[in-house]
Symmetry: C2
Subunit: 200 residues, 2 copies
């Protein structure tokens, strides 16, 4: 690899890390709203066209996952239900609903932070993003800034446990949030690239 | 089975057919909007709490599938992202996004009209509604008024082909709609109860 190739690769890596950092910033917003900290951005032609954080409890809607909210924004922006040529950066492996929406919207490329062994549908429980029977399959990479995503989730669930212990009860807002995310596994050291990862 | 048992069963059957007819009425609304005719209602405590039809092209949003719109309404109605104790009646087997949303919302029972061999995620391509790894699995029945659902879809795609033939081009609105639904299979005579079906 020549010097220029190396520089170009480093620049590319810095760029994609920048997008994941933008997704992490969204996750922090969810954290600040006492929501499970998950964030997402959608990029097209090197521009962020949508960004959102999980706010399922705040909105009292199962559809208010970060990915669904971002997909909704992106469709509005592009004025089309097809998000061809888009890349999604998401801090945690998508659940089946979000993975299904990604496939339906024909998002080309999905970059994932931490994996979610309890409900992840990009390889952990099932792999909706790469099911040969569907008419769209995504390029998928995982493990980008996974430590930072995991640390945020870990800290959130630690706070939640302490709050629960202090109150000796759940408050109805946070209840059930942790059922679909296995904090111990999510918070494990960033995994080596999984079977979903494709190295570019 | 005694006389009263028989009467009760007939009444129950009539009731659930009524809900599917309400879903078919929604599908007809989609048809009238030149959308792939799929409709859905959500029932709780013997009342329809949400109903919607597919309007993905009209809304230019991948999220405007009948099931997602109905789930959104139901969450608003119940003021909770959890749709415990609800039954969904849907005229066509849900896609992966909608099946994922059904699992995330913890909908107890799903009654399906026609199956969709091309994208169906309640057994046809994959079975998201009954994946043991997730923290929720649904009761699923299929084949209820499947002929009527299939006939509507078949007629829609026939119209679409004729319009396309007449114009010798697609109009951008309908393009791509038929990629995820195999009209030949969908329009086949109502299938015998599938492996998803549970007889009550």
């Amino acid at each position: 690899m020549g010097l220029f190739d190396g520089l170009a690769e480093a620049r590319e890596q810095k760029k994609i890390e920048g997008y994941m950092r933008a997704a992490l910033k969204e996750a922090q917003k969810a954290y600040d709203m006492h929501e499970v900290p998950i964030g997402c951005v959608i990029v097209k032609d090197d521009k962020i066209i949508a960004k959102a954080c999980n706010k399922r409890n705040h909105d009292r809607s199962v559809l208010s996952h970060a990915e669904i909210l971002a997909i909704s924004q992106a469709c509005k922006k592009i004025k089309d239900w097809r998000l061809d040529g888009c890349t999604m950066y998401v801090t945690l492996e998508p659940c089946p609903m979000c993975a299904g929406a990604i496939v339906q919207a024909r998002i080309h490329h999905v970059v994932i932070g931490a994996m979610n062994p309890k409900a992840g549908s990009a390889g952990s429980v099932i792999n909706i993003l790469k099911t040969p029977g569907f008419n769209h399959q995504c390029e998928v990479e995982s493990g980008l800034l996974a430590d930072e995503s995991s640390a945020l989730l870990s800290s959130f669930f630690k706070d939640l446990r302490e709050t629960k212990d202090a109150a000796e009860s759940t408050d109805g807002i946070a209840a059930g949030d942790d059922e679909e995310i296995d904090e111990k596994n999510v918070a494990a050291p960033a995994a080596a690239p999984t079977e979903n990862s494709s190295e570019e």
